[in-house]
Amino acid sequence: MPAKEYDVLIIGSGASGGMAAHTLTQKGISCLMLDAGPLVDFPRQRVTKAVHELPYRGFGKPGRLPHVVQANEFNANQWVDETQVPYTHDPEEPYNWVRVRMIGGKSLFWARMSFRLSDYEFKAKDHDGFGDNWPIGYSDLAPYYDKVEPIFRVSGRKEGLAQLPDGVFLEDNSPYHEHVQRFMAAAKERGIPVTKIRRSLGRGQFASSFNLLLPDALATGKLTIVPNAVVREITIDKNTGLADGANFLDRQSRREMHAKARVVVLGASCLESTRILLNSGIANSSGVLGHYLHDQFYITQSVVAIVPAARGNAAPRAGFGGGGYIPRFRNLKTKEKNFIRGYAADFGAGGTPDAKYIPAYGEELQKALESYRGSAMSFTTMGEVLPRFENHARIDKNVVDAWGIPVLRFEARYTDNEFNMAKDAIDTYSEVCQAAGFEVLARSDKMHPPGYSIHELGTCRMGDNPKTSVLNKWNQSHDVKNLFVVDGSSFVTGGSQNPTLTILSLSMRASEYLAEQMRAGNL
């Protein structure tokens, strides 16, 4: 059977690849999508079990998935097996690379937090002189945020904050509990805003490429999805210097295949896309491919506070719950002494603190837990990590994965800017809690290794200068003009906001541009 040539080959089926397929197929462009993972039949793939029925009773198999802090014994099989697709790093400087390989990618499991970036990020250098600006501004991306939010059904409340632009929301009119209002009042006195969470509601059990993007793309008749296709490299036509497809292996049989297309769109996730490009030996005339790796540092339960009025079944405990979001408030109009940029936090109310925080055991511990039940507020701090050239991923030629493809080696570390930021966050949230009359039970500025937030960004960054960036402002390779990279690797700087909404919007914008270039005959 002669191989079919597609208009566009899309590598990856998650948020970015799915949005590319959604956008391109609606414009009549034929797309082939390859994904390294299977199409999962969720009802058959998951069964309800009691924790005591699991071999390790919820502790998980010791030593399995050492880098995936998010893994537990119930969900261990949903993550990429680190023995099949390993990566390397200095043992003293670990990197947590958390991956999913199935149709829909990580968009099947994301936390759905959906925030816009602002010009505090797009034009960050203008504010503090560090690093580089994006080649685009907020006004360039805003029309695409406007179109993506209704697809993902983002709930939120318009707050009018420059650092967290409002979106096209399903209005969240839920009231704040009075205890949360006390916290908000104490925060407001210190110039700290508190907002409703902005979250993709999606449809049914998913807010994913799997259910919100790919079905519509398939319905056009213009999309072919091939699962279990592990891409080794993008191929280049020697005569034109343009990409002409990709070599891949069937995941199960390891049969080698080649797919042919006029244009290649990479949306395999930040680091897998970078790995494919590095293994292909293309798109790196700048020498920055793989560099400027950054993410957001996350500290879960960075502050755990008890609301005394909610303890011991005291009224008005009923209804104490919900949560909120504290957007960045540092270094907007003023300057901090020992760090630039800023951090955000989300908080949940109405929980019970972990037993580890209570300096007791036995019956005394149990009584304390009973008295604390439902009275806790806990904060997850999310801080901007500065994009630095020296933080990078490169190919480790000494190690290959189960398909014989060379793996990545990481060198990434946080610096005093992140550490000082974390200390300030914990001090500030603690101060606000105490001012609200809450008891601070625990506080922690201890970070996980880089990568833990699963918000890896920046290794194919965009820019106007081909000597210092991999992509132009349309997510198009400076070197190979029919190659686009539409995932989080294009970020110049990431702010403290969860990146998925921006990834989706950038992918839509790049795909519309690509479609127009194809229509005009430029590609």
Binding site: V51, G58, A76
Partner: protein
Amino acid sequence: MKRRRFVKGLLALPAAPALVAQQQQPAPGGNQATLPGNASPQAAGESPALETALSDTAAQMMPRFFTTTQFAALRQLSGILMPPINGAPGAVEAHAPEFLDFLIGQSLPERQQLYQTGLDALNAQAKKRFDKTFAEADASEAAALLAPLREPWTPEPPADALARFLHAAKQDIRTATMNSPEWSAAGLASGGRRPGGFNQYWLPID
């Protein structure tokens, strides 16, 4: 001899499909329920759903990893840190020490060392201060040895090896107890307030 066995095997092969076909045929008369001893009539292609039991309901765990002295200390520690409260089984009743013996025995060397040195330190402290093993310590003696658990929590694990072990064991003993079949059964018996954690388990991806 080998050849004879091989030939016998070959001769047996054609019979196998016939046997399968025979098993899939409905019983003469079409009414399987009338056959003697057939408790569960099945349609063609169905397989019976047999009831099975967890090994824990039929047998006991056999500790293998810790020494006898270490295990006795772990058992004593488990009983103190998580006693039976409000009708829920304690760690000993939930066989948490036996499960932790298995779990730590499967763990990475660093975790194994944390437990082994921690339990040895507990016994050494008990010997030094009270001239007995930790398992033999009474309530007030044990409380003195467990003083590190009354120190406030810190993000970094304590520098002292015994304190580090005690904080880890406090969490593990609690989890092993609350994730045990005994805890689940007690929860169901008390009206489902503590039925144990149920969740969606991901089967291995083919």
